[in-house]
């Protein structure tokens, strides 16, 4: 397709999008990303279809990606002809008739489950969706289309200025594009924060007949899902970013390396790549230019270490995903020995915006050294969980309290950077979120997982969790990582079991340093970070486990017991029924007995008792 043809396509796409916006038929949007589906969006959609069919109403249903506030899922939006789109939250199938009948039968806006509207200004006392406390402080650049457009429609993306950044590229030299990216100040969003332009320049300046571009969508950090959401909600943004990067570094072949655990994202990518090919945005002589490029999808097979550049390359080459020594860096000698650039999904997804709106516009956000915006998955014990995008430099307090609504129980810590990062205590809440400040505090920015924990979470247990994770995922090449992480887990297990001595904590610290210094890649080099920062900021909690044999958060299994409070127990037998080991016994209407020797501390009895209005909290967990 030529430049002229794409202009025509965009005109048609704009008309199509306009028709959805100024709709003649009602449009119902359903948040159907993985998170929405997990919350039950498919059932909700079925209930909508049933309702429409039963009432003989014609309406268009558009499944969209994740708009961010996952705690409101399933989200259902209704847009009546000529009216603004109105969003409803936590919509289960049983709520659907009530919401839809308001619009279709009574000609009014239903009030139950109402979240907000997408129009401008005031509407019947309903807040604007983007004015909700979770969304107002955010700046949506890379997420601008997520939850708004149909991710399966190239035309929706085109109508919202899609591929304009890439078109602009084609009228520039590669040096000019590189300079724009340099001036924007964007740094790699995968974790390390290396300036994107510098990596590109090294690759471009290496003499080679062939160069490769790899999009790293192997989002292995547990607790992070930014890349999944972006691909599911706006796949073309990432693919357009790949075109821009490939044009600049002079690559002819690109790969998307994506985790197999993300089936929906893979499906969306495959469809989008097919659409690009059809529209002439992929293949030889893209848009009539001299630039030719193609993209293949490579599915990961479940190995966290493959997020590391050299391991990822080994995996694409069909080998065990084990990192190798650098230099040479992949930008010089990567895939099949050719210069290769590996960029994170978010970095690539941001590029079209930089090219379209200009470097200075992007650099206007963020701080001096950390420019632009960053997406985070805000999860854990925070009230409003979900995917957010904020300008860098915003403080942790603003993110956790203003956006996330704080925690129900007292705040304890925020974990940033996943298994390579660290836990920061309350005194760091006013820390600005940028690469330098987080690193100085002992955590890292990482790919953007922010896990908030409250007084119910044991830091020792969480530290053990991370160490256990990296120990399992260690590829085994370097002894300090393979054996050292294992010993660190063992020591932490001893602490959790109340069997450790104070000297063990020093051993843990020393061992952590050894693993850090003696490992080849970033996995081993950062694996001890969670242990080292926790020991630094939460030492008293470790000491209680060691000295008092107590777990203050009442989490560590071997330091807690479950007890039935005889005075409170009504003898309802519900706990007897759920106990998987028969540890609880007792006749009806009499206080029950809990046999400690049979109790596996699975929490079933505690949960069923807690939600019982009469007995209430007759079962307690103590340490």
């Amino acid at each position: 397709m030529s430049k002229k043809a794409i202009d025509e396509r965009r005109r048609q796409a704009a008309a199509k999008w306009e028709a959805v916006q100024k709709n003649s038929v009602p449009v119902i949007y359903i948040g159907a990303a993985s998170c929405g589906l997990a919350a039950g969006a498919a059932d909700t959609q079925e209930a909508v279809e049933d309702y429409l069919e039963k009432k003989g109403i014609t309406a268009r249903i558009i499944p969209v990606g994740c708009i961010g506030p996952c705690y409101l899922e399933p989200l259902l939006d209704v847009q009546m002809p000529g009216k603004p789109r109105i969003s409803y939250s936590n919509v289960l199938p049983k709520d659907v008739p009530g919401i839809l009948s308001g619009f279709f039968e009574n000609g009014e806006i239903s009030r139950n489950h109402l979240a907000g509207h997408f129009g401008d200004g005031e509407l019947d006392g309903i807040p604007r969706f983007f004015d909700l406390p979770m969304l107002k402080p955010q700046v949506r650049i890379v997420l601008r289309n997520c939850g708004i457009i149909d991710p399966d429609e190239l035309d929706h993306y085109l109508a919202r200025d899609g591929y304009m950044g890439f078109e602009k590229c084609l009228s520039m030299t590669w040096q000019e594009v590189l300079d724009t990216v340099k001036r924007s100040g964007i740094r790699g969003r995968g974790g390390a924060g290396f300036p994107t332009w510098r990596k590109w320049l090294t690759c471009r300046e290496t003499e080679s007949a062939e160069r490769y571009l790899i999009c790293n969508a192997d989002e292995g950090d547990p607790g992070a899902f930014m890349n999944r959401s972006l691909i599911e909600g706006d796949p073309h943004a990432v693919l357009e970013g790949m075109l821009i990067a490939a044009y600049t570094i002079g690559a002819s072949q690109g790969y998307v390396y994506i985790r197999a655990e993300y089936p929906l994202a893979i499906k969306r990518l495959k469809k989008a790549i097919g659409q690009m090919r059809e529209a002439g945005l992929l293949g030889p002589h893209i848009l009539g230019s001299d630039f030719s490029f193609d993209i293949k999808i490579k599915e990961g097979a479940g190995a966290f270490v493959c997020g590391e550049e050299t391991a990822l390359i080994a995996s694409i080459e069909g080998k065990r995903g084990m990192p190798r020594t650098r230099p040479p860096f992949p930008a010089v000698a990567g895939l099949r020995g050719k210069p290769t650039i590996i960029n994170n999904v978010e970095t690539l997804g941001t590029l079209p915006n930089i090219l379209r709106n200009g470097a200075e516009w992007y650099a206007g956000y963020g701080t001096d050294s950390s420019k632009g915006t960053k997406t985070f998955s805000l999860v854990g014990k925070v009230r409003r969980t979900g995917l957010i995008e904020v300008p860098l430099g915003m403080t942790l307090r603003e993110v956790i309290y203003d956006i996330g609504g704080g925690t129900q129980k007292p705040f304890k810590a925020v974990q940033s950077g996943g298994p390579s990062g660290g836990c920061l205590s309350e005194e760091f809440l006013d820390l600005p979120i940028d690469y330098e400040h987080l690193a100085a505090a002992g955590a890292i920015m990482g790919s953007g997982g922010l896990i908030v924990v409250d007084s119910d979470t044991c830091i020792v247990d969480m530290t053990k969790y991370f160490m256990d994770f990296t120990q399992r995922e260690s590829c085994g090449k370097c002894v300090p990582c393979r054996v050292g992480t294992r010993h660190m887990v063992e020591i932490l297990q001893k602490v959790c079991d109340g069997k450790a001595e104070l000297a063990d904590l020093d051993k843990l610290e020393k061992l952590g340093q050894t693993v850090k210094n003696g490992s080849l890649c970033a996995l081993g080099g950062t694996a001890p970070n969670p242990a080292l920062t926790s020991l630094k900021y939460f030492r008293p909690e470790f000491i209680s486990h060691v000295k008092d044999k107590r777990c203050p958060a009442v989490t560590c299994k071997n330091l807690v017991i479950y007890r039935v409070i005889a005075g409170k127990c009504t003898g309802c037998q519900r706990c007897v029924k759920v106990c998987p080991t028969g540890a609880i016994t007792g006749p009806r209407s009499e206080p029950h007995n809990l046999d400690q020797s049979k109790c596996i501390k699975c929490r079933s009895c505690y949960e069923i008792c807690r939600f019982d209005a009469i007995a209430g909290d007759a079962i307690v967990i103590e340490s």
């Binding site: 993985s34 997990a38 547990p222 607790g223 959401s229 999860v379 969980t385 969480m462």
Partner: protein, 152 residues
């Protein structure tokens, strides 16, 4: 592995060593796990030793070397799921099914796995039952799901 299965793969892939992982993935899709005969076929086709193939396959968590159960239960133990009680859900499932992670029940009905992260962290803890993700799980909910399955 049947001859037909292999020839279908031979059309899809050129037989390059770099295609080993996607080939193993396709074989597992077709047969549910990597049978030794399948590995032997691939070894001859790609002209690489069975040892080497096993070396690659055992490196990745995705590959199975035993027949899978009829139903797949995957307990997510990402960070968000962990801090919201994923371990207890796993313990309950293990207790109920009488198997450990990575195993299949004696009747071949269920297999149980722990996964690092399903990416639905905001709705943690989550469990995937035959690919369908259930959100905001609890020990009681997993018991209920298993009970419902048993009565089916």
């Amino acid at each position: 592995m049947s001859k037909a299965g292999l020839s279908a793969l031979a059309q899809e892939f050129k037989g390059e060593r770099g295609d080993l992982i996607p080939i193993l993935q396709r074989v597992q899709d077709l047969f549910g796990y990597l049978r030794p005969e399948a590995i032997r076929h691939i070894s001859r086709w790609l002209k690489m030793s069975e040892n080497e193939i096993f070396g690659v396959a055992t490196f990745y968590a995705q590959f199975r070397f035993h027949p899978a159960g009829q139903h797949h239960i995957k307990i997510c133990l990402g960070t968000a799921c962990h801090v919201r009680g994923g371990e207890q859900i796993l313990a309950t499932a293990q207790q109920r099914l009488g198997i450990k992670t990575g195993e299949t029940t004696a009747d071949g009905k269920y297999d149980l796995d722990r996964v690092a992260c399903l990416g639905c962290c905001a709705l943690a803890p989550v469990v995937a039952f035959d690919g369908r993700v259930h959100s905001q799980m609890s020990v009681l909910k997993i018991q209920k799901i298993l009970d419902e399955q048993k009565s089916d």
